[in-house]
Symmetry: C2
Subunit: 336 residues, 2 copies
């Protein structure tokens, strides 16, 4: 496998956090090689502390600019040609890397990825997909924010790509696909979901129909398809609810001495429950539909979570995600 190009400069944290994440990923996966893209002195200093067996799998690729979290996508394409984000994507395009990872500005990353890598034949727009913990196993949801809206045909393409991710990356034999709506009855929803429903029903995909927001977690579907606006709102809403519940629990376990004691006793159980739902475990959303693998890490991801995003990129590369999507979408395009 070619190395993964890692943008260590972009995101809400200092570059140090992302460098740490990259080194963690290299230590965890002995087959992984990495191109660390950014400020060379900073990266080299961090690499120097590593055991030789890890260090020799990492190279530095210099980039003099950084795309900020506020940068407009168009400006990033025009004026940040030597940014760590752009250079990381360029490594994939140039064939030096098999995939890339960035915790930077989603809009800029989406724009640069489309501009440099282009979409696969049969794909109009790439979508961002992520695994989300559900009652049984995982649900794969897309689009989580690559696009602010989607046409019915684009939603059909997202469904096809989501099915490939669930099947070929996560091993779900025949992924059940649901279209996110505000009711499960056939006549519900606005005209875009109605038209997408009409396209998906005869599509040959294992399409089970409309699902609602709570079905993301029910385990009754493997893939949930929606536009990037709704998907991103749902994703941030999940984070908000989980944070609120965690805060309430923490606060209630502090009220009295008895509560603190109860908290100490319950801690191993609470930790176990939290670990299964820890968003860091599921960090790394894949941009699918491009000619190469691009993984978006959460901007607030710490080193542990960033390492997971790199792992997601490596998994997608190893499972041949790009070529599987290319084959499937090409076959569908030819059939239409």
């Amino acid at each position: 496998m070619l190395p993964i190009a890692i943008d260590v400069m972009s995101g809400d944290h200092e570059p140090r956090e992302y460098v740490d994440g990259a080194l963690r990923a290299l230590s965890e996966d002995p087959e992984l090689r990495a191109l660390l893209v950014g400020e060379p002195r900073l990266i080299s200093a961090a690499l120097a502390t590593l055991p030789a067996a890890v260090r020799e799998r990492a190279s530095v690729v210099a980039a003099t600019q950084v795309v900020t979290m506020q940068e407009k996508p168009r400006e990033a394409i025009r004026h940040k040609k030597d940014s760590s984000m752009r250079v990381a994507v360029d490594q994939v395009h140039g064939g030096q890397a098999s995939g890339c990872v960035s915790a930077g500005n989603t809009g800029a990353l989406t724009a640069i990825a489309h501009f440099v890598l282009r979409t696969l034949p049969g794909v109009e727009r790439a979508a961002i997909i992520s695994a989300i913990p559900a009652a049984h196993g995982l649900t794969h949801m897309l689009d989580l924010g690559a696009n602010t809206k989607a046409t019915p045909e684009q939603l059909r393409q997202f469904a096809a790509m989501g099915a490939i991710v669930a099947r070929d990356v996560y091993g779900v034999a025949t992924p059940r696909i649901g279209l996110l709506n505000i009711g499960e009855e056939d006549m519900k929803g606005h005209e875009v979901v109605q038209a997408a429903h009409a396209l998906l029903t005869p599509s040959g995909l294992n399409y089970v129909g409309f699902v609602e927001g709570d079905d993301i977690f029910s385990g009754d579907v493997d893939v949930v398809v929606t536009d990037g606006f709704t998907g991103n709102v749902a994703l941030k809403t999940m984070e908000g609810v989980a944070g609120l519940i965690a805060d309430r629990l923490r606060r209630e376990f502090q009220v009295s001495l008895f509560d603190r004691l109860a908290g100490l006793i319950a801690r191993p159980v609470l930790r176990r429950a939290a670990a299964g739902l820890d968003p860091r475990r599921y960090n790394g959303a894949c941009m699918v539909g491009l000619t190469g693998i691009v993984v978006k890490s959460h901007g607030r991801a710490d080193g542990i979570a960033f390492a997971r995003a790199i792992g997601t990129a490596a998994l997608a590369v190893r499972r041949g995600l790009t070529s599987h999507i290319a084959q499937a979408l090409h076959a569908q395009g030819a059939a239409n």
Copy 2:
């Protein structure tokens, strides 16, 4: 205060559950009077078991039909003129009731409410608003599903109505209003939120700009405005996440004997945390912008939750919500 008309026949449960909820609301609120709308024998039998002081505040209004959960809104208007839902709304329109509550089909209730009660001057479409627990106090979010989409002007009207609910029903002096989007930067999002942003910025409302899904719970805004599609997905997503976390906790506290013991010890604390977030406490979403109060209870609401929805209707009536909205929207309409 005129009585509240209560549709006891519609929803996912047997009518008995909603009758119980109505009786509970009557017991809890000694000033409340109720018109129980539905099958008279069933209601009378339940009323007979009540103390006279409660019973005398309840009357029965007969309705021979029921709107099903699958019924299309248009069909419900045309063919269910003697349904419990329609008769309950008719009581408000006819002046026999000050407001009404139903746990039935949201689409049908929205359609019937618009058809019978009409919107207030200056309001194009009613919206569904509900209180949602946040880090500090409550966030009021609308539209939660009365409409499948919204124009920029309708979003502006939702913002104005949301501010009235937060201020005049819940006592927030100067409610901070956020517009739900997929980023906080001014240029983010599709053209509808962009145009709504342009309308809200000079609106005279205390508009703080774009917010993201996690801000629903941050306590940083009092009112979150969005279209009914996105709002409903976000609401169902909240329910799904909360259910998933509760299930995981329950399961982890069952794994070993030690875990069960820890669970017993932690139970009072967990119960307290759960009580503050219990969706039943916040049941009852108000349809705002009509000439009368219509409250939508969750279809799966049990008696306790249904009683809370009735309480929400009574509160909205007592605080004069309809006339406050009428004044505010009329004043804004005149100013435009």
